[in-house]
Symmetry: C2
Subunit: 309 residues, 2 copies
């Protein structure tokens, strides 16, 4: 008998690694991945959903492992041309990747929801497990730096995380409706809620900011387990460490755990990163450098969660 | 002193060849190319303007001469991917070509006119001469075949001109406003109006169907000269011959000249194609297989037109 569904909260690259591990050890109906859409933006008139896209490519086996983002077997003719016709070229869009953005934008304009489109496209690409956006309503992350408020991708890609982050807001989060199937899943039999090793500020907190989602997680009755994105006192990838510092927090696993507060029932940290972590802690190797280590961490997460229930 | 401006009416490939010839023998301010926009359509949410694009690529020296359409140094990763995410793949869009469609669509959605965008993009690509759409309002060509009415690109590309053409309409032509600078140019000092060797039914007649455009041409005081798209009793390219037959007309230069009626002051036909052509006829080699022959035909067109004024 099924122990219930695992609901995983994920951002892009780091989260997708664990989501892939989970998808390889759980049957299709026992995993739901909730994707952060706070990074979503419109660029060149196209709707780009970086975290959904990364999860999609990774779970479909289409990700570019050398590059660390985007699609495999990618080409760049569009990028080599766009500036010549006056288009912005600070956000890199591969020729194959464009297919997803163009088709999704067309379908959104025709009235379909992001959830419907994501479900359809992930199935077309052979993904058995479900990936759903946290909401079909836009909740764009905005960053306050010393020069004022800027859009997230302006900060993240165009300015390559150089501005000092003073504050983050999730625009429209107060009015956004949580994705209905996500709420339904959390109201059903849940084995565990897994907070993937994503950036807490820009990948997980936007999800928790959607009205009703945090409460649904708290009330689902299953253990909530997070995996620290900090390994050896550093962020594995991205601006997590820099943001922790800029927001006046120590670059430690404990800082991230404290940030999640009493939402967590358990926390998984790498060896040497457990100091000061509140609550139930499990130490395990959290660097996921291969499919084997992704699956291994997924199994550890599940057995740790099961031990807490 | 300038003899005035040459105003050329053009469709895609055949017309663009003569437009290129004219652009090489006339200074920038002495040539205006009016592009047919009856072929324009929305595909995958992108606005595609095949004749403007062909003229742009040809005059910018970016056309794919081996392929006969599209851009040079093109790649096809997008096309190799679009069907996998559920997108339509019957209209071929190269990765470089996409840059133009995406940036134009973005600008149209932001409220700019097709004329403004075309002027800006042609300049960015180094084209000194002006290319303008016949109208900023959509005038989509529709085709009646034995199975009813279909959109032009459905007929032209998806069904590869297989349906028998019974009738053509230019939707919205009654309400479309002619492009303002085109009307202004035709009201100024005009040396000649040149009807390029394009398909009369689907490339030139949509232009003439825009209210005021035909009258402006008739009243501009300059000779109107057409170049026959029929050479040796056959169409050089495309469905012109098939359409002539299906509409009950002989596949001859005379049929096309008769179709234009008293709009023409002179007609240029290839050797052996002059039989039955009404009015003033000039026989010249009209096959444009090289830049040299394009320039040569442009000079012939201009001197023939000058002889009529």
């Amino acid at each position: 008998m099924s122990k219930g569904r695992v609901v995983a909260l994920s951002g892009g690259v780091g989260g997708a690694k664990l989501a892939l591990g989970l998808s390889r050890v759980l049957p299709a109906d026992e995993l739901l991945v909730i994707a952060n859409t706070g990074d979503d933006f419109e660029h060149l008139g196209l709707k780009i959903c970086p975290d959904i896209d990364t999860l999609t490519y990774v779970l479909a086996g289409l990700d570019n492992t050398e590059q660390g983002w985007g699609r495999r077997e990618e080409t760049w003719s569009f990028m080599a041309t766009i500036a010549s016709v006056g288009g912005a070229d600070w956000f890199r869009l591969g020729d194959r990747d464009l297919a997803l953005h163009i088709e999704r934008t067309r379908r959104l304009r025709s009235g379909e929801t992001l959830s419907q489109i994501t479900t359809d496209i992930t199935r077309r690409l052979g993904i058995a497990h479900r990936i759903l956006p946290m909401s079909d309503d836009p909740v764009p992350t905005r960053v306050r730096s010393d020069d004022g408020w800027i859009d997230f991708q302006d900060y993240f890609v165009r300015q390559q995380c150089r501005p000092v982050v003073r504050e983050l807001v999730f625009d429209g989060a107060d009015k956004a409706r949580p994705q209905a199937d996500v709420i339904k899943a959390l109201g059903g039999k849940v084995r565990a809620v897994v907070i993937c090793p994503s950036n807490p500020f820009i990948s997980i907190e936007p999800i928790l900011a959607v009205p009703g989602l945090r409460a649904a997680i708290e009330n689902c009755g299953a253990p909530v387990v997070a995996i620290s994105p900090i390994v050896g006192g550093k962020a594995v990838k991205g601006p997590t460490a820099k943001m922790l510092q800029e927001l006046g927090l120590a670059v430690t696993s404990a800082s991230v755990a404290t940030r999640y507060g009493n939402l967590l029932d358990g926390y998984i940290v790498d060896q040497g990163d457990s100091e000061g972590v509140p609550g139930k802690v499990h130490v395990a190797p959290t660097l996921m450098t291969s499919v084997v280590t992704k699956e291994a961490l997924a199994r550890i997460v599940l057995s740790f969660a099961d031990s807490l229930s």
